[in-house]
């Protein structure tokens, strides 16, 4: 399929969905409070911007997200790589990881509040947990999957120390896997950001709770789409960077 053709179909799918939704809302079958039409998003955006709320909430959520993403990614990748490199460490973490991993990030909310209070740190902490585990496991798997023959080639050509092998083979070889983990974390982070703010930390989640309390469902929808927008932009930028780094792949 030609690229232009594919874009046209993708756009048609999205527009069709919005049109269908608008039609149902306008038909009066369902109250616009229960299901506000997409056309109500623009006016609510204008009013939220006029009151200065939208940019403030977007910025606050972005901050929590960015800090959580950074901390979770750095710790996850670093520990995942280290664990994969040392069999003893790997054995000692196996059960521990199995116990801690299934705990959803949101289950940490009580402790986040007790430890950090209703603060931005608490939100960033919760966001970082989900991102940490994704990166921890993908980085570990990526390092384990590095081609042993390439390590032999590097050794045959004189790169025999651990730092040299790490730099010349293991990290570049694991890069595609590590990057795909970072990208998965990028999406996971936006999913937890709203929940992390529901208990009163300033941001998109808190504003959505306020709006739903007032039955201002059109505002809720506005922020749902705002998150989609933020995710879309961050993923687009990430993929552009990733493609540059992995230019060597077909």
């Amino acid at each position: 399929m030609k690229t232009s053709h594919r874009y046209a179909l993708s756009a048609a799918g999205l527009i069709g969905f919005l049109a269908f939704w608008e039609g149902i809302s306008q038909s009066g079958l369902i109250s616009t409070t229960l299901l506000p039409p997409p056309s109500s998003i623009a006016p609510s955006l204008v009013s939220e911007i006029k009151e200065g709320i939208w940019p403030m909430m977007m910025w606050a959520s972005f901050r929590h997200y960015a800090i959580g993403f950074f901390i979770g990614s750095v710790l996850g990748v670093t520990l995942g790589v280290l664990v994969a490199l040392f069999p003893r460490v790997q054995a000692s973490q196996a059960w521990l990881a199995r116990v801690l991993r299934p705990i959803p990030p949101l289950a940490w909310i009580p402790f986040a509040i007790i430890w950090f209070g209703i603060t931005e740190t608490a939100a960033a902490f919760i966001i970082s947990i989900g991102i940490f585990w994704i990166n921890y496991f993908t980085a570990m798997a990526a390092v384990q999957a590095v081609d042993k023959d390439l390590i032999e080639v590097a050794r045959a050509f004189g790169h025999r120390t651990f730092p040299a092998l790490l730099k010349k083979v293991i990290l570049p070889g694991a890069a595609p896997g590590i990057l795909s983990g970072l990208r998965a974390g990028l999406g996971q982070g936006w999913m937890t950001v709203v929940a992390a703010e529901l208990f009163g930390i300033e941001g998109i989640g808190q504003r959505m709770m306020e709006a739903s309390g007032l039955l201002a469902t059109n505002v809720v929808i506005l922020y749902m789409f705002s998150i989609a927008l933020l995710y879309g932009i961050s993923d687009y930028i990430f993929v552009a960077v990733q493609n540059r780094i992995l230019a060597w792949q077909r």
Partner: protein, 256 residues
């Protein structure tokens, strides 16, 4: 002539040095300066393993390997060409060729010159800026050879480098290898399972067999190289080595 490689009662074992996993025992082989030696043998006899021990990638179990070539900080003494060239896919072709130059005493300028001249030598002078995935199997194998030549080694260890190639490409690369060998005066130890290839390329063919493996036979190839393909003598020599290999197989199976 001076011996550049000499193994002394070399034994190699896998596992924790367990006697039952001895691959070969008390192996004594030598390669002289400028000599092209080919090594054929029963599969599983440890041909590739022997190269890896000589290249110091696997430790010997007993005995030792003596390498007698001048030490020079701007070169590496031994370089290896692998069956699957295993280029680093994230390095451009030129950077792959330069892999062994990192860590020896060559300036960036010399490094670039050596990469370019070895690329020219294997006939891929314009390919330095490409990615490995853009090359064909034969081209990748040439880069594997260039990568080894770039470190200006005295000894070239080659582990079935043409084994995975189609017949036409293989023939072309054999001739190219001989041309390079004549031009560079390297000592070559070349492992192959293709007897015609062994007889065509070698000054001497070593036959590895038995269990544990040892050199069961050795054939001097005295035919002039430009007359090797398709001469009667060549065919006779190939048949002779083939017969030797069949005996060696019987020996391996009998001992098992």
């Amino acid at each position: 002539m001076a011996k550049v490689i000499e193994t002394e009662d070399l034994s190699v074992a896998f596992g924790e040095g367990d006697e039952h996993n001895i691959i070969f025992r008390k192996l004594n082989i030598a390669v002289e300066a400028g000599e092209f030696v080919t090594l054929v043998g029963v599969s599983g006899a440890g041909k590739s393993t022997l190269l890896r021990v000589i290249a110091d990638l696997i430790p010997p179990y007993e005995g030792s390997v003596k390498i007698d070539t001048p030490r020079d900080p701007t070169r590496r003494r031994i370089a290896m060409v692998f069956q699957a060239a295993n280029l680093m896919p994230w390095r451009k072709i030129g950077e792959n060729v330069g892999l062994g130059l990192e860590g020896i005493e060559v300036s960036d300028e010399q490094c670039r010159e050596r990469i370019q001249s070895t690329l020219d030598l294997v006939g891929l002078g314009d390919y330095g800026d490409r990615w490995p995935y853009q090359l064909s199997g034969g081209q990748v194998q040439r880069i594997g050879i260039a990568r080894a030549l770039a470190v200006a080694p005295d000894i070239l260890l080659m582990d079935e480098p043409f084994g995975a190639l189609d017949a036409i490409t293989r023939t072309a690369l054999q001739d190219e290898l001989l041309r390079i060998w004549r031009a560079t005066q390297k000592s070559v130890l070349f492992v192959t399972h293709d007897i015609e290839e062994a007889v065509y390329l070698g000054d001497r063919v070593l036959l590895l067999g038995g269990r544990p493996a040892h050199i069961v036979n050795e054939f001097k190839i005295a035919i002039a190289r430009d007359q090797r393909r398709a001469s009667n003598e060549f065919q006779q020599k190939v048949d002779e080595v083939k017969a030797g290999l069949i005996d060696a197989m019987a020996l391996s199976n009998g001992a098992a």
